[in-house]
């Protein structure tokens, strides 16, 4: 299956990438996907304390199982306001 991954802020800037499509196996969790993304993009989360993940515009836990066509967002520390 495929998921769309969105990058924002400092992560987007460092990767030079705002969006990509990633193939992953059925049953992949958020934790599994983030491991894949870290392999694809060494230093993905350098410069930030941590990132949160949102799936289809909801913050989710790392145990969340992904579905085909999910929109996964990598959310560095927010600073709106």
């Amino acid at each position: 299956m495929r998921v769309t991954v969105l990058y924002f802020g400092i992560v987007r800037e460092r990767l030079g990438l705002a969006e990509e499509t990633v193939e992953c196996a059925e049953g992949t969790t958020v934790e599994g996907l983030t491991a894949t993304l870290a392999d694809l993009h060494p230093g993905l989360a350098d410069g930030v304390e941590s990132v949160r993940i949102a799936v289809n515009r909801d913050y989710v836990d790392s145990s969340r199982v992904l579905s085909d066509n999910d929109e996964v967002a990598v959310i560095p520390p927010v600073s709106g306001g």
Partner: protein, 148 residues
């Protein structure tokens, strides 16, 4: 009224949006670009948002506000792109029958927005730029000492 916009925010638009004949009080909060931050001379801020999710989160903040206080209208608008010194990056308006509710709810809404809204600001200051909330920003906050 929950919006991400890329041009100037007019506070009166939000106030009008939350106006209600049963409301006797409207509290607003406006965030503007300051000319200094952590000792840096700020030239401008540039905001980026995950717009669809941000608007969804604004609506959820409003739902939580309604669970906690007796309010009538809630409006939240955030600007993206360059926001020059003195201009508004975010505006919130809450109407309620009574003032305490309106003011407390508005305070809660801006506090929540800063924690949950997927929005990021990059500060362009004299001599550099930094993503606010990143380690580089945190280090700078403490005169070069790293903060966890």
């Amino acid at each position: 009224m929950f919006e991400i916009v890329d041009s100037r925010i007019c506070l009166d638009d939000l106030v009008e949006a939350v106006g209600h004949d049963e409301s006797g009080a409207i509290a607003t909060f406006t965030g503007t670009t300051r000319n200094t931050n952590n000792g840096r001379n700020v030239e401008r801020l540039e905001y980026e948002a995950y717009a669809d999710m941000a608007v969804t989160e604004f609506g959820r903040i409003a739902e939580r506000v309604r669970e906690k206080w007796d309010v009538r209208g809630v409006a939240i608008v955030h600007r993206t792109g360059v926001v020059p010194i003195g201009e508004t990056s975010v505006a919130i308006a809450v109407s309620a029958p009574h003032r305490r509710e309106a003011i407390e709810a508005c305070h809660y809404a801006i506090d929540e927005l800063k924690v949950v809204a997927p929005i990021w600001k990059k500060e362009y200051f004299e001599g550099g730029e930094v993503w606010i909330g990143s380690l580089a920003d945190c280090c700078h906050e403490h005169d070069g000492e790293s903060s966890a």
